[in-house]
Symmetry: none
Subunit: 229 residues, 2 copies
DNA sequence: CGCATTTTTTACCGGTTCCGGACAACAGAA
DNA sequence: TTCTGTTGTCCGGAACCGGTAAAAAATGCG
């Protein structure tokens, strides 16, 4: 069963033309859309305007190393392809955010299978465009939120928090997870800020909807309150 | 700081005791909760009552083959471990739903990294890490506990204790182990405190369920009481 | 540059939870 | 039984956490 309908876009980042061409050919034969980049800087440039569903990243790159661009990729699964077979390399790359690691030379059938595995994941691929929860509606494209029709003006952070909470209703979101998602690269110690943001968000929602929507779980984090009609 | 709170449960399905024991030891050292099963049928039986966060599945199993139980697992990532290195095996297993595939012998560091990759996934909305025992249900998602449907409000420590006890039902948990897991950053948290926590936990469960669920083993520790219907 | 908005820090309060001692109740050994 | 070590529970103080307001710092905008 091939992906003949749901053609996903795969981004090949590889300076080696021969391997890249072979991959492109195989992937296209499988019905995938293919993007190409031949250096790390080029890859980042492409990623600024396009959002592929999967990235095949060769580590040996001119200019920016693969290791350096991996942390800059967010929300897209990355399969690292490398000639290095040492465990240290695999471990460090996987822990740095890679979704999988294949050693050259590899069997293309296995690569194709592992690509399917990644694309099968409904994680970030289709970022839900609209969320709805007990009167709160949140649209991703317009970045607007309304409670029972009344528009509510939220700041960027408040919006991010609410989105994360509404994406997993009735599930506790850890404070650490919230902090990671909201302010990506601050080392630590803004747990107090989170409290303030939650407080402000609560207030705005309460002013618009008349009730408190966010529940705090002592010592753990926050969740959307279960509302019974 | 280490993730003391979010210890995930990993389910090892392997009939080979030596490999299984080694895995269990390593995983526990990493702070994971471990479940074991030694056959396919046993694995399915366990999965009816518990929902781990990840499954390590050895293909060579007595009775039900690993291939047969893989399709029955839904919503939990499965890392297949097998001695067969042929591409056909990898491909078929990956396409059948496996999240990853490791060939024996493998480097445990790589396995640990790949486990992290799977657990890192903002997992399927499905309820992971749910435990059920004689009317007590404990869900990791909502961080809530209920006895025969009645919600019980537990402290963070109480929750941790109960989770540890319920993860290994009818097995004595030593006081020292409980102390290690619960207050990771207190040098030697007094044993008297643990007694208090257990006492409070007992009281809350008793108030909701009408009976005492925790049994104390003189001089050793605690375990869940065996309850006959 | 000045101004407005947003984010972060700081401080404080009230409530929750934890700790560890005290002491009675209990189980096991002699 | 008596003695000894363990367990269950009560309790006060300490430490911690969460909510909010106000100030300070950072950011965006014209």
């Amino acid at each position: 069963m091939k992906n003949t309908q749901n053609l996903s876009t795969i981004f090949i980042i590889d300076d080696d033309a021969s391997i890249g061409n072979m991959l492109e050919e195989i992937l296209k034969k499988e019905g995938y859309q293919v993007l190409r980049a031949y250096s790390g800087t080029e890859a980042l440039f492409v990623l600024e305007r396009q959002k592929p569903d999967l990235i095949l990243l060769d580590l040996m790159l001119p200019g920016l190393d693969g290791r350096e661009i991996l942390p800059k990729i967010k929300g897209i699964p990355v399969i690292v392809i490398s000639a290095r077979a040492e465990t240290e390399d695999k471990v460090s790359l996987l822990l740095s955010g890679a979704a999988d690691y294949m050693t050259k030379p590899f069997d293309t059938r296995e690569l194709l299978a592992r690509i399917v595995v990644q694309l099968r994941n409904p994680s970030v691929a289709g970022t839900a465009s609209a969320l709805e929860f007990a009167g709160i509606s949140l649209s991703a494209d317009t970045h607007q939120v309304s409670v029972w029709g009344l528009p509510v003006k939220l700041t960027r952070t408040e919006y991010a928090i609410l989105k994360l909470l509404m994406a997993n209703p009735s599930q506790v979101i850890t404070k650490t997870l919230l902090l990671e998602r909201i302010s990506e690269d601050t080392p630590d110690c803004m747990e107090s800020s989170l409290r303030v943001h939650i407080s402000n968000l609560r207030k705005k929602l309460r002013d618009a909807g008349g009730q408190d929507y966010i529940e705090s779980v002592w010592g753990i984090g926050f969740k959307m309150k279960e509302i019974e009609n």
